[in-house]
């Protein structure tokens, strides 16, 4: 019965979210051209159809899943789409980003449904952990391969295979989270035992620290070779936090912190792009028209929005560089104001809350750890980019999950969302909250 209530809540919230998105779409059009978009009916229909399809798949394949995941993603995805469409149409070189993002949303929801369809039990994934590791490493390294990788906007994070280009790092996130979770389930006892140093054991035998150092090494490689500070930070945070949760040993966080600090200082001194980022964070005004331009424009946009925002379609967010990807949060903050930016922040907090609730409720360690990993990915990635855009932290370019323009990111995040839904469904089944015949 509880599961049916969850599904009803989900459906209700999806309808509400779709109406909000359609309303925002209408307002953006009114703001820009003072006319109601001609396709508002079909638009609402498509948004509803997409997410109701995802809802029906959930009903069918994961009836006990948490009911908030999908509506939150739908709302964020929809708001993101409205802004991408609005930004692209007013830009001097429209690139058809809105149509592309719509296509990616369809594919993302397809990926969500397929993940639910194929991953019937999360624990099945545990078996392929080294396969996932290899895939993950291959994906991470792909942009570095000559002929495949390409450097765009100073970061080497793109891979070109035939006509298709994508950011392999986004998918590496998914498989590495699965790998970390299964690896840590296996090693958590060993890693949890402190034998070193002898006089006051704090850490496990040094040989077990290998993976920690490996993760650290990887982060450094990503940061230096691919110049992708955001992903580097994200992977490192993911691994350290998962190790900490798995082993219940705070010392790891300490060691990780020391490694991180050391790495940061070295990177700051040794690499110009890291140095520049930190300088632009500390004082963007000294290069106001150069490297500090992005953050300053972001601030101007946010300040211009004030409390209530300029209104959709009525601001000037096209002045922020890369507004539809990394800086989309600033565009939202300008046109929807503090109310809108706070709403987005709380959406992510809600998503984090759902993820952690799923993790706490899950009994099997693998599921618990995987849910934790996915939650960390959502929570930390969103935080990193929003903090960068607001200049709370140095800017490290990552996408804002579900909101930013980008196919790889959107699809990967829907897969992560499906995995979370699956874990919560497994838990619900175990607790007897799902009538098995409903799943027949």
């Amino acid at each position: 019965m509880i599961s049916i209530l969850r599904r009803r809540t989900e459906l209700g919230l999806i309808v509400l979210g779709s109406v909000i998105v359609a309303g925002a779409y209408t307002l953006a059009s009114l703001g820009r051209t003072s006319s109601i978009p001609a396709n508002i009916g079909p638009f609402l229909g498509i948004v509803l159809a997409l997410f109701v399809a995802a809802h029906i798949a959930t009903r069918r394949y994961a009836p006990g899943a948490d009911g908030l995941l999908l509506p939150i993603a739908a709302l964020l995805n929809g708001i993101g789409y409205v802004f991408i469409a609005r930004l692209d149409e007013t830009s001097s070189h429209p690139q058809g980003l809105a149509a592309a993002q719509a296509g990616w949303t369809v594919i993302g929801i397809g990926a969500f449904v397929l993940t639910l369809l194929f991953v019937r039990r999360v624990r099945d994934l545990q078996r392929y952990r080294y396969t996932f590791l290899l895939i993950g490493l291959a994906l991470l390294m792909a942009p570095l391969l000559p002929g495949v990788g390409r450097e765009i906007n100073g970061a080497r994070i793109w891979a070109y295979v035939g006509p298709i280009s994508f950011q392999p790092g986004e998918f590496a996130k998914v498989v590495l989270a699965i790998f970390f979770a299964s690896y840590l389930v296996e090693k958590r006892e060993l890693l949890g035992m402190a034998t070193f140093p002898r006089f006051r054991p704090l850490l496990p035998d040094l040989k077990h620290l290998g993976p920690v150092l490996l993760a650290w090494g990887f982060s450094i490689v990503i940061m230096t070779a691919e110049k992708d500070l955001g992903s580097s930070l994200l992977f490192f945070a993911l691994f350290m936090l998962m190790v900490w949760v798995a082993t219940e040993r705070t010392a790891y966080v300490g060691v990780g912190g020391v490694l991180f600090a050391g790495g940061s200082v070295l990177a700051y001194k040794g690499f110009k792009h890291v140095h520049d980022r930190v300088q632009d964070w500390l004082d963007p005004w000294q290069h106001a028209s150069g490297s500090g331009f992005q953050v300053i424009q972001s601030w101007f946009a946010m300040a211009w929005g004030g409390v209530a925002g300029t209104g959709l379609g009525l601001g000037n967010p096209d002045r922020i560089p890369v507004a539809s990807t990394d800086f989309i949060f600033a565009a939202i903050a300008e046109e929807l104001g503090l109310l809108g930016s706070a709403a987005v922040i709380f959406c992510y907090l809600l998503l984090v809350g759902c993820g952690l609730r799923i993790a706490v409720r899950a009994e099997p360690p693998f599921e618990k750890l995987l849910a934790t990993g996915i939650t960390i990915l959502f929570g930390v990635q969103s935080f990193i980019i929003m903090a960068g855009v607001t200049r709370l932290l140095p800017l490290t370019g990552v996408t804002l999950p579900f909101v930013s323009y980008g196919g790889s990111s959107l699809v990967a995040n829907y897969v992560l969302l499906a995995l979370l839904a699956r874990i919560s469904d497994d838990t619900a089944r175990r607790a007897g909250e799902v009538l098995e015949k409903a799943h027949a």
Partner: protein, 491 residues
């Protein structure tokens, strides 16, 4: 592991809380500073793409208004100034690249309609977009300004006309002026060329010399010196009686001569009437002293920022004379490094006229919304208490004497109480030129004075004490008559 999960949750909540606070800071608490940042063009672009309120003279003439741009223009609206150069310095101009000047600058938010009281007049306005631009009505009148321009003619100089009772500026003309339409062009090349041309002119037509430039006030400053002496109890109408001499010879420097080597002396009324240099130099240097002079001039607004609601008002200066009686003597008669804007000298006259009180000078009368509802109006405020009413009464009598039977007789008007003071500041000797000054107040007999005029004509050939009275006083007289006529008609 659940304990760690809870801590992880708490940690993430802390991160997001920090983010939320940061967003609050940027969007609310620090927003105004960011919006006003000079490299942020959002405000300017907004201002150029929306209608803007009018600037209107007190007698109804439209001085600045907004019309739709020509097709193909980058902005929606074009600012125009129908009166051309007549109010160029006052309205200023509104240019995308150089920003706003004059009233366009000081009352930018009111004209653009973005003050809080304009945006949110009722709760409904929170949700409904409505026309918020404000029309700024000035205290200046077109007829007064026009007369000032005609009376001064093609001579470099300034005319300030004000009401001493409330500080409102009725006319303020500086020649040469400029046509703000030239600088408001949206064609940035044209506007830039006009700006370069105007800036290259040695006579500085872009400067409102009436309040943005300083000049030697010459003998008009004797009103200040005399007032300080009376206020300090050092000088009365009868005492001291200054010796009749051709020059005041300070112990430590050059003698200070009277014009044309004449001899003069006597008590306050006599020496002001004939504008006796030796007597006022002696009064400042020997009787009043540097400390009392410095404190006194401050009460008249020297060495202080002028509060007028126009940008870049000059700070009138009274110098540090470094314990030199020679320097102090010169400074006391408006020479040495004493420098005042014509506006400041008008305010000196207004102090005498208004029982010793200087009202805050202002050009804004009120701001109305597009329904004619007054959103705000300028409340007359006291700027300075220059002297007691008793001192003011003494000085008033002294200045009336100047017009009755002294150097300022050219400003005498039958049936009107006029008091004034001439001034001639000599500049250079080959050829000798001088700045001709006249400051005066006037009103119906037995009533408080209702108009103050300061006139400065620059670059007059020759240098005699009569220059100010001969050149500047007739201009002031014309304006006094005009303003009194308007006031009697209830305007």
């Amino acid at each position: 592991m659940n304990k760690q999960l809870r801590r992880l949750g708490a940690g993430l909540v802390a991160c997001y809380l920090a983010l939320f606070m940061m967003v609050n800071w940027v969007q609310v608490f620090h927003a105004e500073a960011l919006n006003d940042n000079p490299i942020n063009t959002r405000k300017i672009v907004r201002d150029f793409n929306q209608p803007r309120g009018k600037i209107i003279a007190a007698d109804g003439a439209v001085l600045a208004t907004t019309v739709p741009s020509a097709p193909g223009d980058q902005f929606t609206f074009q600012r125009t100034y129908p009166e051309g150069d007549l109010f160029g310095h006052i309205t200023g101009t509104f240019n995308f690249n150089f920003g706003a000047t004059g009233v366009e600058q000081t009352y930018n938010d009111e004209l653009a309609g973005v003050t809080v009281s304009q945006e949110y007049q009722t709760l409904r306005d929170l949700f409904v977009d409505h026309q918020t631009t404000g029309d700024v009505t000035l205290t200046l009148r077109k007829d007064v300004q026009q007369l000032a321009r005609d009376a001064l003619g093609e001579k470099k100089g300034s005319v300030v006309v004000m009401d001493p009772r409330d500080g409102s500026i009725l006319g303020m003309w500086s020649f040469p002026s400029y046509d703000p339409n030239l600088l408001a062009s949206h064609n940035s090349k044209d506007a830039q060329a006009a700006k370069v041309f105007l800036e290259g002119n040695a006579d500085q037509p872009l400067r409102g010399r009436a309040w943005q430039e300083r000049f030697f006030p010459g003998s008009t400053f004797k009103v200040v010196t005399g007032s300080i002496g009376v206020e300090a109890g050092i000088v009365t109408p009868d005492n001291p009686v200054f010796p009749t001499e051709t020059a005041y010879k300070p112990p430590d420097g050059q003698p200070i001569q009277n014009f044309g080597g004449e001899s003069c002396g006597g008590a306050l009324f006599d020496i002001l009437r004939v504008s006796c240099n030796s007597a006022f130099a002696r009064m400042g240097a020997e009787d009043i002293g540097q400390a009392t002079m410095e404190a006194g001039v401050q009460r008249f607004g020297f060495n202080t920022k002028n509060p007028i609601d126009l940008p870049n008002a000059a700070v009138s200066n009274f110098p540090d004379t470094k314990n030199s009686k020679a320097f102090l003597g010169q400074a006391s008669i408006g020479q040495f490094d004493t420098a005042a804007s014509p506006l400041e000298m008008a305010l000196v006259a207004s102090a005498v006229a208004n029982n010793g009180v200087i009202m805050t000078p202002h050009v804004m009368k009120d701001v109305k919304d597009d329904n004619g509802k007054v959103l705000k109006s300028f409340d007359p405020k006291v700027w300075l208490n220059a002297m007691t009413p008793q001192t003011a009464a003494v000085m008033r009598q002294a200045m009336v004497g100047v017009v009755q039977s002294g150097t300022g007789t050219a400003a005498r008007i039958d049936g009107v109480d006029v008091g004034g003071k001439t001034g001639t500041a000599q500049l250079g000797t080959t050829p000798a030129t001088s700045e001709a000054w006249f400051i005066c107040f006037a009103g119906e007999p037995g009533k408080p004075s209702s108009v103050v005029v300061a006139v400065l004509v620059e670059g007059e050939p020759g240098a005699s004490e009569g220059t100010g009275g001969r050149i500047a006083a007739p201009i002031a007289k014309e304006l006094v008559q005009k303003v009194l006529e308007i006031q009697q008609a209830g305007g």
